[in-house]
């Protein structure tokens, strides 16, 4: 075919020309990228971190991992937890703790991001706002329990005293939680501005916020009051942090390997792509626990024999493999292994795998409905439990849904489910969070999802929250043991998190398995 007839010049040269041109354009466009600024091994003044969602910028609204990560860089708390769960100094240099109060001595050198000096009165005002019911801070109960809280300031002595109406042993560690981050007076004057600006004393201040895209933080000069959290402090703190919103973990790993990200927090199997790459350091952490809740509010699961039968039908190792892509480990308690007062011995009370016993116990169980969220391993763990129950003759039905739907079902107080897999993220590393979801009032009034009323656990809990020190931890252990012994819960697995950091960048994750922005260093 000649060129005149086709209307095209000789084709091959044109095609080659187009390919060459496209390649040249591609190379030019690629050169426009900013990937070169994060070349591995070079010290840099900016570090880019992936967060899975837009973070809440008001500490009182903190509810998830992204919130805890961002707020940790912007707002200091009075005390902190180190990697072993021990309370260490934060804005407070020392403290005196009692069952119903804690008196904290503030450091004298702390300033807010607007340059004003942080006073005890300012701290008191911030905590008073936090506990105000109108603030509706969702996790405030994990810090102060069901008590009324009063906060008094002594500006002359540089002291703040937090008191609760009843004994609460977790009062001091409760002041290390991200929602207790101290908001400076300028932020309290204009609470609406908290959604878009920062008013903290943290190592960074918010430079710009582009929700859905990027949150830029700038290092504060003269920040010297950071906590001692252990680990290496080698290297320099970056002057800017870019928190890029990357919801898809595969995308986050793509961006890591191509130099667009320096740090990412991963919960899924994509971490395998960088696990053996010498250009990255992967640190495994526990972000929470997964357990099986039995609905004891008007369903067949109010029968302990049936609950025991269900527990005997489930191979927890197999569940951990299915739900966490083989990364999670079987746990002996609803409390995570890195949480203070975790009791390894509680595992002795967990029923062991026994299919024959399960078959016998569940012969008249009727239909059992399992609910769960697909956010946990795509729902594979729930599917395994359904299969395990069917294997022992149970008519098991499964309702996997998104987190919002599952959460509403779980907390509605309606008895339309028997079993629920509960993946309990614990970004604060607080023992109160898993325990408050397994004891106390049932939904809709409380957050004891299964509604179990366990007298032994309740008695031990009474001791645990009224005592401080080793006695308190012993009582917390009894709570964990009692819940297992009566099969009010079945501890299943840890919720593993992997922190991936590029070579030359380091970060600690002392609390809740989450990267602490203040500890990021570049070499």
């Amino acid at each position: 075919m000649d060129a005149r007839r086709t209307g095209l010049p000789p084709g091959r040269t044109t095609a080659l020309g187009l390919i060459a041109a496209a390649t040249a354009v591609a190379a030019v466009l690629a050169g426009c990228g900013s990937g070169s600024d994060s070349t591995g091994g070079q010290a840099r003044s900016s570090v880019t971190i992936a967060i899975a969602s837009n973070p809440a910028l008001d500490p009182a609204k903190a509810a998830n991992q992204a919130d805890a990560i961002a707020l940790g860089g912007l707002y200091d708390t009075l005390v902190r937890l180190d990697a072993s769960g021990k309370v260490v100094a934060g804005l407070a240099s020392s403290w005196k703790s009692a069952p119903t109060s804690v008196a904290l001595q503030l450091r004298k050198d702390v300033t807010c991001s607007d340059g004003t000096k942080l006073t005890p009165s300012a701290v008191a005002a911030s905590l008073t706002r936090l506990v105000d019911p109108a603030t509706a801070a969702p996790y405030v109960g994990a810090s102060f329990g069901p008590n009324k809280v009063t906060v008094k300031a002594d500006d002359t002595a540089g002291r703040v005293t937090v008191s609760t109406s009843g004994p609460w042993s977790q009062l001091l560690p409760g002041l290390a939680m991200p929602w207790t981050g101290i908001v400076c007076p300028a932020g309290l004057k204009d609470p609406n501005a908290l959604a878009s600006k920062s008013f903290g004393t943290g190592p960074y201040e918010l430079e710009s916020a582009a929700p859905g895209r990027r949150f830029s933080l700038r290092r504060r000069s003269g920040y010297t009051w950071g906590p001692k959290l252990g680990g290496s402090d080698a290297g320099a703190a970056p002057t800017t942090l870019q928190l890029d919103v990357v919801a898809n973990e595969s995308t986050a790993v793509n961006m890591l390997v191509s130099g667009k990200l320096d740090i990412a927090l991963l919960g899924g199997p994509d971490v395998d792509r960088v696990a053996n790459d010498s250009g990255f350091t992967v640190t495994q952490k526990d972000g929470g626990t997964v357990w099986l809740a039995f609905n004891e509010q008007g369903t067949s699961m109010s029968d302990e024999a049936l609950r025991r039968g269900v527990a005997q039908a489930i191979d927890r190792e197999a569940f951990a493999n299915a739900a966490t892509f083989g990364r999670g480990t079987v746990i002996p308690s609803v409390v995570g292994p890195t949480t203070e007062c975790f009791d390894d011995a509680a595992g002795a009370a967990v029923p062991t795998l026994d299919a024959a016993a399960a078959r016998a116990a569940l012969s008249k169980a009727g239909t059992v409905t399992i609910i769960g969220t697909t956010q946990l391993g795509g729902g594979a763990g729930q599917e395994y439990i359904q299969a395990a129950l069917r294997d022992v003759g149970v008519d098991a039905k499964l309702r996997n849904s998104d987190t919002a739907t599952w959460s509403q079902t779980l907390t509605s107080g309606k008895g339309d489910w028997e079993l629920s897999v509960v993946p309990a993220l614990n970004p604060a590393g607080s023992i109160i969070i898993p325990i408050s979801q397994t004891t106390g009032a049932a939904p809709p009034k409380g957050t004891n999802f299964g509604g179990a009323q366990n007298p032994q656990a309740a008695a031990a809990l009474g001791k645990a929250i009224t005592q401080v020190g080793p006695e308190s931890c012993a009582a917390w252990g009894q709570v964990q043991h009692a819940l297992n012994a009566r099969v009010d819960v079945l501890p299943l697995s840890t919720l593993p998190l992997s922190i991936v950091a590029r070579d030359g960048v380091s970060v600690l994750a002392p609390q809740g398995g989450l990267p602490d922005l203040g500890t990021i260093r570049v070499r």
Partner: protein, 330 residues
Amino acid sequence: MSRTEPIAAGARPPARAGGLLGAVLRKTAGVACVLAGLVVASFLLVRLIPGDPARSIVGPQATAEQIAVVRDQLGLNGALPQQFGDYVGRLAQGDLGSSFETGESVRTIIEDALPYTLALALLATVLAFVAGIALGMTVAVLCRSGRPRLDAAFQALTSIGASFPEYVAGTLLVLVFAITLGLFPPGGSDSLDTIVLPVIAVGLAPTCTLARIVRRETATVLELDYMRAARSKRLPPLRLYARHALPNLMTATLSYAGLLLAGLLSGTIIAESVFAWPGLGSRVVDAIAVRDYPVIQGAVIVLGLVAVVATMLVDGLLGALDPRRRRSGT
């Protein structure tokens, strides 16, 4: 397109009086109906999704009292008709409300995110339009006198390409061009080159589909009498195909491109997720996950309106290009 009445180059339709105002009125009424439907449907549909926004926002740890406070703050305690009345009242003043989750103005969210979605959808449409026409016409011309292997290869490749889901195309593109070759970034939006791979991922399937349409239409047009006549005049190839054949392909092509753009406005969601592209689609997905009603409603209305406007523009363009449409007033 009629095979017996091609558009002659330079054809001029008879003037049509009185039809323009009627057409404008009809279109305006249509847009108003669509807008009303979008407002009602988006308001009701989001409330049919199981899940309490207040619970979603504050998490499972919140107590009933805290949930009640948040529901009150979000204005969810009133009866549904009252909520709808309040919503329409605010909407009439141009107020799309504020995000339940972040407190941001929905208008701001849309103003920030919509340009990213529009850029992605428009560029993907342009890619499909340009590459689809070029590919389809080229293959049709080359295969007019045989070349069955080329035609078979074209059919096979475009068939595969047209059936490629965005996430597969996106993943492969990232693997080859970002991870292996390092030519483009795998995600983000902080530089010009970040849009290249998302556009290709979104535009690949429509390009292949359009190429198949154009190839078929071109083959038909090339056999019409007026094209034979044009060829007999020994016109230069560029003039022959661009001036005489192309206008007769435009009706089918533009019709598809119009539908494509409207579809891509919401169809970019997957690509936005794969490439961490901060468009409206990913914001809507996030909003659905936490039942952020105002964001979902605002996005549905705005995307719907953009789709309607895009369709109207394409209709107008078709009318301008096709004399038969001008004559019929459609």
